[in-house]
């Protein structure tokens, strides 16, 4: 009993530690990465002993310290309690979402079988959408409690944008749920361990010989859904090209214009934690989660018949490593996107969400249903 609780606590701590630190590291990568993209040096004051890499340590330790020791200003006409509650909600919802994302298969230690996932809910994907929908409150409350017209405008924009893109995001993953027949993220990740040729009927010999060797990852089964999900997820994190709620050139800083010190740090860290969570979701739903192609529980089984056996611990380490690499890759992809494209106009954001993403997501559901019936 005690050991079970200990294991759950250890998993929760590990995931929280990884997400928070990755969020911090992303803050540094964003500065250095943007400099790389724009052909600048970027953040060069933070190097210690002439080592540019030490800037990372500086960002992880010096930045938060500086934030926490600055004055925490609450607008005199604002709502003091809600002004404090808002950043807490923004950071909380960004952090707890990762609880249902699996970061590995099972770890067998003697008699004990540990599922490498913090919470194994049978409604995992719905939990993520529910928590994401609560994330809007951080923005709305923060915007209202600041008693500032710029922040209120940002909050109104943010709530409308997030509600709109939640619909498209939810519909875009329906295809994946239909194929794997479950709402559990661990089951979806396991389902992506087979090959496409095992999913096709006997009659489809041509497809079997051409694409049958591919692993049954979501991206190969639902490429359109991935594009829709990626777009909607970027819109949910409120970053360029969807950063209308912040829009520096129009709204100063949008919903967090009246925030300083530790509370601003919470909004800031929450945004990066959202990026990590979005990357984790993309990995789990569309890129096999912790799966390494052809790696089964006892080692590699290549489609051409070769087999390489590995010890259990090696397999688990490979899986967790693969998951981490994929998550970091998608974090980088989002940062790359932020520094490569300009901001949309607000009516363009709304048109893209309701008139393009939503109909395409519905079409994807219908086509997937027809194909599934045809294959059976």
């Amino acid at each position: 009993m005690i050991v079970d609780i200990g294991i759950v606590a250890a998993k929760a701590f590990l995931v929280l530690f990884m997400v928070l630190n990755l969020a911090g590291i992303l803050g540094w990568i964003e500065r250095k990465g943007s400099a790389l993209i724009q052909d600048r040096i970027g953040a060069n004051r933070a190097s210690i002993f002439g080592l540019a890499g030490m800037g990372l340590v500086n960002t992880l330790i010096a930045d938060p310290l500086k934030f926490l020791t600055k004055e925490d200003f609450v607008p005199p006409q604002g709502d003091k309690f809600l002004h404090t509650l808002a950043p807490c909600m923004a950071l909380f919802t960004a952090l707890v979402t990762f609880a249902v994302i699996p970061f590995g298969d099972v770890l067998v230690l003697g008699e004990r079988v540990i599922n490498l996932q913090v919470a194994n809910l049978n409604i995992g994907i719905l939990y993520i959408f529910a928590i994401a929908s609560l994330g809007v409150y951080g923005i709305v409350i923060g915007a209202w409690a600041s008693n500032n017209k710029f922040s209120l405008l940002g909050g109104v924009r943010g709530s409308a944008q997030m509600i709109s893109y939640e619909v498209a995001m939810g519909l875009s993953v329906i295809g994946i749920l239909m194929i794997f027949g479950t709402l559990e993220l661990q089951e979806i990740a396991r389902g992506q361990g087979t090959l496409i040729r095992d999913m096709l009927p006997e009659s489809a010999q041509f497809l079997k010989s051409t694409i049958g060797w591919l692993p049954a990852w979501g991206i190969f089964l639902q490429p359109l859904a991935f594009l829709l999900f990626f777009t909607a997820a970027v819109a949910e994190t409120k970053r360029i090209p969807f950063d209308l709620p912040e829009g520096e050139s129009e709204l100063v800083a949008g919903y967090h214009v009246e925030y300083s010190g530790g509370k601003f740090l919470m909004f800031f860290a929450g945004e990066f934690a959202e990026i990590v969570t979005a990357a984790g979701l993309m990995t789990t739903l569309f890129f096999g989660g912790w799966q390494v192609p052809y790696l089964m529980r006892d080692g590699f089984h290549f489609p051409w018949g070769e087999t390489v056996l590995l010890p259990h611990l090696g397999v688990v380490l490979l899986q967790v490593g693969a998951f981490t690499v994929k998550v970091v890759f998608f974090c980088w992809l989002q940062i790359l996107l932020r520094w490569s494209v300009p901001r949309f106009r607000y009516d363009q954001v709304m048109r893209l969400g309701w008139k393009m993403l939503l109909p395409l997501a519905l079409l994807n559901v219908v086509v997937t249903a027809i194909v599934i019936i045809a294959v059976q």
Binding site: D79, L82, L121, N122, I123, L126, Y127, F129, A130, A132, S133, L134, V136, Y137, V140, I141, A143, W144, L152, G155, V156, S159, A160, I163, E166, L183
Partner: protein
Amino acid sequence: MDASVIVFYVVSVLLVLTSLMVVFMRNVVHCALALVAALFLIAVLFLTLNAPMVGILQVLVYAGAIMVLFLFVIMFLNPTALEPRHRLWWGLGSLAALILAGGLAALMSNGESLADPVAANEAFGSPEMLAKSLFTDFVLPFEIASVLLLVAIVGAVVLAKREP
């Protein structure tokens, strides 16, 4: 006493408190946020009753979507404080509350022992069970409800597109 029963009573007390806050707070935004908290607590009650699907949908639809739209409208209109309550409404409201309280008291005092607030069956609220009952036994009401929603959506679009 079972742990889930304790959870039930704690959540219920909080639920009643937040519901009272919805009625008695003077700032409309505070009322709306108290309602969000109340809806969230109802979702927790569903979770303890082995109905995680209904609980999560409660958060997703009511707390996460409908209340955001409420707040959206409140923030747009920005009513600083509520007008003082009209005496007639106050009287009628009290009368309705009294009738409801009387009815509930009559129901509670009919001699039967109070039911256990914790549901027995674990498979009861699973997504599979919910889908099975929705698409077999209750498919007609389900479809009627969806047609009703569709009519509401079309109506909203027509109203929004009306030429001035």
